[in-house]
Symmetry: C3
């Protein structure tokens, strides 16, 4: 195979964790049904049942995926009437190969990545599986293996309208109050970098492209410290313990500390999205 050619892979994300054998068993099922197809683990420590966090991780990874099938399982509704999905993507363009299918539960998990990847062209409701509580193994992995080996999607179940997919969990909207921006945490990574939902363009447009910025977490941490942050382009521009604002590797705003945890500095104890953050030009 020539370098750079589109060899299909399966891209696998879940909240199964890495302590138990769940991820390994899904790999074994994929290997039996699609031998020779690489399986790339995107993340398996999505917090249990957190569809929003899993959907965000998948959307961040999506621009970097090549041809093949995405298999994503964060599925609190397993073994209920919630639908299993295979969603066909609009084919890749001049920007290069991209996944052709996303497979997972119909609970909003796939929707943010769908948006990044250009939207759905088709969708199928998976009718396989056995009603077990391990649909990753029994329903979704077999469907992903079927599709990555060129199987007919119609064999997986009836075609459905992509417009009927359950939407992604809603995120609080950004708000401008005078010169103040009210936004929220999209992601806290393992280094403690705090990605915000507001875009760099919004912050810049409000006059916070250059000077110092006052930052405070206003909810759910009402006693959080009021900090002053500086716009930088690299962690190492910051002094020890200094808070920075930079455009991160996903093109989003992030609060950061050089060789340290902005989440700790801001009084955010956990890794979850959600908390409300207020930014304003420092006085």
């Amino acid at each position: 195979v020539a370098a750079g050619s589109p060899v299909p892979a399966i891209y696998f994300l879940s909240d199964y964790g890495l302590v138990d054998e769940f991820v390994g068993v899904v790999h074994a099922v994929l290997h039996r049904r699609a031998p020779g197809v690489p399986v790339i683990d995107l993340a398996h420590q999505v917090p249990a049942f957190q569809v929003a966090a899993g959907g965000a991780a998948l959307a961040r990874a999506a621009p970097h995926l090549g041809s093949g099938v995405v298999l994503a399982v964060v599925d609190p509704g397993v073994a209920t009437a919630r639908r299993g999905l295979a969603v066909g993507l609009v084919p890749g363009s001049a920007s290069g190969p991209r996944p052709a299918w996303l497979v997972g539960p119909d609970n909003g998990l796939l929707v943010p990545a769908l948006a990044v990847l250009g939207g759905a062209e088709s969708a199928y409701r998976l009718t396989g599986g056995n009603g077990s509580t391990f649909d990753g193994r029994d329903l979704f992995a077999p469907a992903a293996a079927h599709l990555v080996t060129g199987g007919d999607p119609a064999q997986l179940g009836p075609r459905i309208d992509p417009g009927t997919l359950v939407p992604a969990p809603p995120a609080p909207p950004d708000r401008e109050v005078g010169t103040t921006l009210i936004t929220s945490v999209a992601w806290v990574d393992a280094f403690g970098n705090v990605q915000l939902r507001a875009t760099p363009e919004l912050l810049d447009g409000m006059g916070m492209a250059g000077g110092p910025i006052e930052v405070v977490v206003v909810e759910p941490h009402q006693d959080a410290p009021v900090l002053t942050a500086r716009r930088v382009t690299a962690f190492a521009e910051l002094g020890p313990g200094e808070l920075g604002v930079l455009v991160d590797a996903s093109g989003q705003l992030a609060l950061v500390v050089d060789r340290g945890s902005a989440a700790d500095l801001l009084g955010l104890g956990t890794h979850g999205p959600g908390p409300t953050v207020r930014l304003a030009p420092a006085p």
Copy 2:
């Protein structure tokens, strides 16, 4: 390779953890000696030295493995006189391909999976290695690579009687005391689901197929709460914080909570097997 054909793989389980480079080094050794053979990681965060927990994880995974070799290392007796083993399995039948060999220490680790996979046809005592404290790298991985590439097992060491293998660590037997079932915890997964050793058939036969069930952990937690559980088939049938009993994806009984931890609810702090659980028809 056609979809579904039996391409051999190595299925790897250990207690090496994922912090250090142990697992990666074993992969490197396998790649040097069996290039092109997929290596599927089943689990590497088996609690350190816990042969029973590792053996149970391997047995749960076993029905889903295809052709190839199982490499399992939970080995408190490394570098002692305990034997290293290659155990040959009875060949796969109409139910499809299965592993041909299990490789690991002779301490009971392989025995539960052996039972699931139809039993041993042959066994060899591994005489390689170098007496180091890293037999996963120096003894077991080379043996697994030798076997998966079609090497002669007799080159690994003398043939031994499979009947002489060290048995699996014993589990406490289930007991019926009147209408009460005394069983024990087989596994607590990362979601907090509590798998029991008693079979669904036993519970059903004692008249607990339908109505509510009183559940309490009686040892080692004498102050554990007495809870009432309901038989369900899906997590989402349960109300918030309600305890359920379902047949899990391994076909075993499990105590569960929807989007929560049954282990926490029951006062089980750790992930290990062992605690005694009492179930009885609720009054």
Copy 3:
């Protein structure tokens, strides 16, 4: 491919952790640019920004790697003027295949492995990337994929003098004070084994090859217990809770406990290298 032949692989180590999708995204980039090349994960839970710990892990793994490219990213200086490197190794000899290239930041991370692998023959300064804060994805992975598929290193950037590489972080030297050896902790693994920097030869030469050894952590834990250790060759030679000194699987001295944590016994709370340890013949 015949068993044992040198099929190139990419050997990947980082401090990205396994919670976020960083490692998976790098795998996706490698798959797009070098499809069919195995990627072997050595370790991704190197403590954040700890160049010394990452360099030591890479050096321990190095003797076991086959042909291909090492990709290592522990990079607190990302997006600054620190150089990105591709370092060409002296070709493998009769001892078998070895990696041809090491790719990573110029901060000392690669240097200990370089020494193990026979030293640098050439070096190139990577000029790609996009100034992002995710050089593992945008600079180093593309360079590794380029090299593992036989690309011309001169296309990656200008050739530089390997003698100008930033050295590895310095380690405290071992000292002999009378019959006492002052050394330091090189590594605490997940089992709690404590690898020391002093060589077995040094300890033996000081008369501690046989009899009991007094061991104490003298810094930064001034209240640490004074313990007596015994030289052994296997964990299981030790009684319950007894401290042992053995030559570990890397050929280094290690303080160990059978089925337990020497780090806990010694009062070392963390997994990092550094603390000073004093060893002397027991009175």
